[in-house]
């Protein structure tokens, strides 16, 4: 197990290096000049000298590889630079926003689990019966509607028409329900279909037949013998689609005025606040890579055969 983790962490370092390279280059290639934005060139007269001075201060007059080297050196010390807009360290900005987004993500995933597992299991038990058809329709809806639209509809229904749930803000649990549902639903119904397919596959395995022939109770067969193998594909897709999940989180945060990482990133993009954008992209990247590492490691816990195979190599 330790060797496996060691291998994966080595891979992780390589991935993170490439990620940092991309983040840096993308930001340098992006249109617009941050110097002009910082000096508020739209409203004030900016002299050539002012620009040159600031460029020199920010290190923009040096070759790219030097800039990258410096950036990387600071990054190693968790110094992502200072926000052009607020002047505060980027890391501080990110750290204050993380718990807020984490709260939203946590509730969204809870709602997701609460929909995915029952719906997936239910439609696998009643294949081609009405529960299955219902989940099929829900998955189609979930896959086709964008979540900002779903969010708007939910706000209209529950906040405006019925007036039972608040449409924005943070602080109370009632304020989490709508954004978390908006974020979780579209993924949940699609994952439910994946879980159904996985379950149908694993329920048709020979060992399930053998377990039935031994007189094992049906619920034990479902949860102890079949469920494990069925979860693997769902976990894989979950790890891979985590990026779009976080993208969805950005949209939902804007929609429900949720002051998390997503709002921070959007504000930073509008203001060309490069250090913050870089910080956000890096953080998201690290998060996605780490989650996928966890997903990979969970395979070995779920199916011990894989562990032994890999260790034998």
């Amino acid at each position: 197990m330790l060797t496996i983790i060691k291998n994966r962490v080595t891979q992780l370092v390589v991935v993170l290096f490439i990620l940092s390279l991309f983040t840096f280059t993308l930001m340098k290639m992006a249109p617009g000049d941050p110097v002009l934005t910082i000096l508020n060139a739209d409203e004030m007269v900016v002299t050539e000298e002012d620009q040159a001075e600031l460029r020199n201060k920010l290190g923009f007059d040096q070759p790219l590889y030097v800039q990258y080297g410096k950036w990387m050196f600071n990054l190693m010390q968790l110094d992502l630079g200072k926000s052009y807009m607020s002047g505060k360290p980027v890391i501080e900005e990110l750290l204050t926003r993380i718990p807020i987004t984490a709260e939203l993500t946590f509730f969204a995933m809870t709602i997701m689990l609460c929909i995915t597992v029952p719906l997936g299991v239910w439609s696998a038990i009643y294949v081609n019966k009405w529960p299955d058809q219902l989940s099929r329709i829900l998955a189609l809806i979930g896959a086709s509607i964008p979540n900002f639209w779903l969010g708007l509809i939910l706000i209209y229904l529950f906040a405006f028409k019925l007036g039972v749930l608040p449409s924005s803000g943070i602080g109370s649990y009632s304020q989490i329900i709508l954004p978390a549902f908006t974020l979780g639903f579209t993924f949940a119904v699609v994952y439910a279909r994946l879980l159904r397919a996985g379950l149908l596959q694993s329920l048709s395995e020979d060992y399930i037949y053998a377990a039935r022939a031994r007189g094992v109770k049906e619920w034990r067969i479902l949860w102890l013998h079949a469920f494990r193998a069925a979860v693997l594909p769902v976990l894989t897709i979950f790890g891979l689609s985590l990026g779009s999940f976080l993208g969805g989180a950005v949209v939902v945060e804007i929609l429900f005025s949720w002051p998390g990482l997503g709002s921070l990133a959007v504000d930073a993009i509008f203001n060309r606040d490069y250090p913050v954008i870089q910080g956000y992209i890096l953080l998201t990247g690290v998060f996605v890579v780490l989650t996928n590492l966890l997903v990979d490691l969970s395979y070995y816990v779920i199916d011990p055969r894989m562990k032994r195979k890999e260790e034998a190599l």
Binding site: A210, R214, V216, E218, R220, L224, R305
Partner: protein, 335 residues
């Protein structure tokens, strides 16, 4: 005259399958047609036939585990006094693994791969009795020892950490824990090498004597059927075309399918002809009407498209073939 019933309806029948028919619900395609056989106490009953002839499906029906897409249209399956086809799921669950044990052809997928063998033993024991995990472990170890396995080690292993022979032994141990009345062995040796396979069958025969149970041995390996069984049923296209005491069927095969099967064996004590006789036609192709083998039968007649009743030939042997009646009539004529 010819009687239209099956022979060997002894008093001590353990399992009686009568007139059993199974179809696919949607397409109404017949998978098993008017199956008729019985297994008596303490015997090994062989069911032989090519893939798709309905052998394993018959086992599934006996276990009461037939899939929802299939339907039993007629007939009965009686184990002792209980009618399998009309039992509730709960009652069936109590019979499975306890009264009827099942051994699968693929030993590698007999145990669930991510649960330790021992835990699966405990699961079975606790599904059928109310004892603590500790006591259940003792029971499991006892039976693992019984099949000559290193019990402690096997108990703590995952299925893929054991060899094929060990797994098959472990599955036998799990099957006999409750001293079942019937063991269904669905091609128990297919995935094993010849020697291991023989040893497994030796073990099964040994345990059968000890537990005084019956075995339904499903196989397409004639040598096992010939060596191990007392009674044999030859299946083709979901139908038993010939049934009887193994020795009787062996010495005097009636149905052309049985005949061809037996001729296709390689034998050490016989000079090999240039070529072994082969069967005509596509394997598995069967006629919709009448005798299912008529499409491939070398001695097919016009009357073969009519339904062929089982006719007995002595008290321990019967077959479903028009040839048999025709020959007899011929014999009568020539005499």
């Amino acid at each position: 005259m010819i009687e239209n019933n099956t022979p060997a309806t002894c008093e001590n029948n353990l399992l009686v399958v009568e007139n059993l028919s199974v179809i696919i619900r949607n397409s109404r395609e017949k998978l098993i047609r008017n199956l008729h056989f019985s297994i008596s106490q303490g015997e090994i009953f062989g069911l032989v036939g090519e893939s798709g002839s309905g052998k394993s499906l018959t086992a599934t029906v006996i276990l009461g585990m037939i899939s929802k897409s299939l339907e039993v249209t007629s007939g009965s399956v009686k184990l002792g006094q209980s009618e399998i086809t009309s039992l509730s799921e709960r009652e069936l669950r109590n019979i499975r693994g306890k009264e009827i044990a099942y051994l699968s052809q693929n030993y590698q997928s007999f145990f669930t791969p991510f649960i330790k063998v021992g835990q699966q033993f405990i699961e079975i024991i606790r599904c059928h009795t109310d004892i603590s995990r500790k006591e259940a472990k003792k029971v499991a170890i006892h039976w693992l020892n019984k099949v000559h396995l290193p019990a402690e080690r096997v108990f703590n292993s995952f299925p893929d950490e054991l060899s094929g022979g060990q797994l098959q032994r472990a599955s036998i141990a799990s099957a006999i824990m409750f001293q079942p009345r019937l063991i269904i062995a669905d091609e128990p040796t297919t995935a094993l090498d010849v020697l291991t396979g023989e040893r497994i069958l030796d073990l099964l025969s040994e345990l059968k004597e000890e537990l005084n149970c019956s075995i339904l041995l499903i196989s397409h390996d004639l040598k096992h059927i010939i060596n191990r069984t007392q009674t044999v049923g030859v299946m083709y296209g979901g139908q038993i075309v010939e049934i009887g005491k193994t020795s009787a069927v062996l010495s005097n095969p009636i149905h052309p399918y049985t005949n061809l099967l037996l001729q296709s064996r390689l034998r050490l004590n016989k000079h090999i002809q240039h070529e072994l006789p082969t069967m005509l036609g596509e394997p598995g192709s069967m006629a919709e009407e009448g005798c299912p083998f008529s499409k491939r039968c070398p001695s097919v007649m016009k009357s073969c498209s009519n339904i062929v009743p089982m006719s007995s030939l002595g008290s321990h042997h019967s077959a479903a073939c028009h040839l048999m009646n025709a020959e007899r009539e011929e014999r009568y004529v020539t005499r």
